[in-house]
Symmetry: C2
Subunit: 419 residues, 2 copies
Amino acid sequence: MLQQRPFRLLSSLSRSSTRPIAACLSASLRCRSQRPYSIHADASVGSPIKDIEPSKLSITTTTSPKALLPPEELIFGRNFSDHMLSLEWTASEGWLPARITPYQNLSLDPATCVFHYAFECFEGMKAYKDKNGGIRLFRPERNMARLNKSSARIALPTFDGDAMIELISKFLKVDERFIPDARGYSLYLRPTMIGTQRTLGVGPPASALLYVIASPVGPYYPTGFKAVSLEATDYAVRAWPGGVGDKKLGANYAPCIVPQMQAASRGFHQNLWLFGEEEYVTEVGTMNLFAAIKNKETGQPELLTAPLDGTILEGVTRDSVLGLARERLEPKGWKILERKFTMKELADAADEGRMMEVFGAGTAAIVSPVRRISWKGRLVGCGLAENEECGPITGQIKDWMEAIQYGDEDHPWSYKVPA
Amino acid sequence: MLQQRPFRLLSSLSRSSTRPIAACLSASLRCRSQRPYSIHADASVGSPIKDIEPSKLSITTTTSPKALLPPEELIFGRNFSDHMLSLEWTASEGWLPARITPYQNLSLDPATCVFHYAFECFEGMKAYKDKNGGIRLFRPERNMARLNKSSARIALPTFDGDAMIELISKFLKVDERFIPDARGYSLYLRPTMIGTQRTLGVGPPASALLYVIASPVGPYYPTGFKAVSLEATDYAVRAWPGGVGDKKLGANYAPCIVPQMQAASRGFHQNLWLFGEEEYVTEVGTMNLFAAIKNKETGQPELLTAPLDGTILEGVTRDSVLGLARERLEPKGWKILERKFTMKELADAADEGRMMEVFGAGTAAIVSPVRRISWKGRLVGCGLAENEECGPITGQIKDWMEAIQYGDEDHPWSYKVPA
């Protein structure tokens, strides 16, 4: 079986007691001096010594291809395609040649820094089949830019995003049969970067592994929208100014599970993260949040979402919703606003009949309509009638997004994987 | 070679495409309903279905024992003993029998949740050789209690701390030859718990692995104390109210590396984490911080450290320093205070000749004397003369601690491993 063959690291990371300590130390020191990471990290800092070279890709295909699951059995992130794409990085050599191999376990020393200090970051993106049988990605350059920002923030290496998109495209051609050919279906891609240094000292990793696995997924709402109920969380805080809440780090996820479980134990689908004494509305579970309300003074419809102040994940879906809304809703009289807003503003809008719609936005669901929010012992209605599962703007945005993602509409956001 | 044999999980976690999806789902749901984790988690919540049973331990010893390194070549967390202790947990079965095996790689599916969502927490503790050749641990029940609090906070399982100490004791007997027999030397133990669920959905892991690896270490300051210089960090925060800064989670470490690198790039050994507009002094790098200053009004010497308000790691060394100081310094006229204090208070004390000593406290160094702190463009002196590397209280506390840790002094904090 594939998974029993240990994943051998090219850079001979497998532990050898005869590896000279001096060499390890100097690699670590080189790493420090050559990679001037900034806290305001962007993809231009932390240049690796040797960047990704797609031409050096090697491909080893599986000898035991998996059977495809029936569409109705697809569950998010549970089953994976035949192969994986991986690249190793070392502080001294930069990015080593990329490999496409059979999907297989990683074999890592128990002292590896990813297990101890959360040197890990990831992306979520999808590949779609268009009506001509072509493969499409949605704004992949955004995911690559964000992964670079995430990795730089935790002293992991950065890379050339365009080169990585080229590699992902080749990976998609190899596992093309796992991209379901139906509206609402896609191949979920999970680019992941982990620190692989095998020492317990707390410092910047001198080696890393970037890999991409792929999981075929069905529609988030297979039988149509189901509006969710949220519980506003005021006793735990997801992110903080000067923290890392705007980066897609593993570190942002495990600490958020217990509040989600507590919301679930009281019958709510997700928790809504508030911030500060003002109870600013920030994010819902693992999605950005949008609220459509009528302005108290003017009655003008407004679409609100929290601004990118460092505590909000810079969602690709969030940015796309904002872009489409500015282009297509503003001409119809809407105001599109990135600004701080409080839970009390939402409750007031509900009380005063000004609440229109609320929805989460993320790669998994695109949009996720919200029925009500539990807050301070009351339930704040979010504009849906009892027999409604989705408001008109929420549904409209989903349709706009899907038309671009599946290539029905020609749009610069849709990236065609070369045939 | 040992490291090339993949670590096989007892619970047959190795991926099988024929594993029924329904079984996975129900395990996950059981997990949710049976483990009522609280955000104010303590070791009494999240009871596993079947707790650790030390009598079921199996031991497989290595056939290729490692050569011991000369003491002067020991570097923290770089070389490990012959064996490792490991226990698997599943939501449906609880803790499976513990195993001592040769030190070896972990073989994990690339979708395993530890790589994506930082389901990981750990402890740091040491085993010492006493003057009679016995093995000693220092307050191990504290490490077990903290590991339980850490794991419960991220929806990982809890366990019976006494049973785990019994297993660690047996592990130490197997690898006893790796405990260096000299003052200042010890065998560093790294209990680690990781989530091992192999799906990308964000939720409580239905399986986990608890393992302990051991690294022989020398004195933190092999040639005597070297006082360190700190840079106060005001542009990034380590922890915040409602967050997880008081737990020993991987998530607290990776985000702190870049600020440490930035401090290092300006010539400082560590960074000092300030919090809030008040610039409260919280922690130094990965240690708790203590300051000894004379009271402005009374001139009475005071030993200050930040209170356990949820943002401060509950250090075992911190607690021990406080305990010893209350017992042995208060009778000599000292006041021992756990209270918030600001960077300005330290600067004022320095300016007014009231600064006595500042030191970090943690398992690795016990105490780490501080020479100066860079803050707002100035250097705040911490009471040491140019030719001094350590203040008298700092040195006294280290001696007290070591006397207990190495068993020179009979003390309830020293745990004797059964012969």
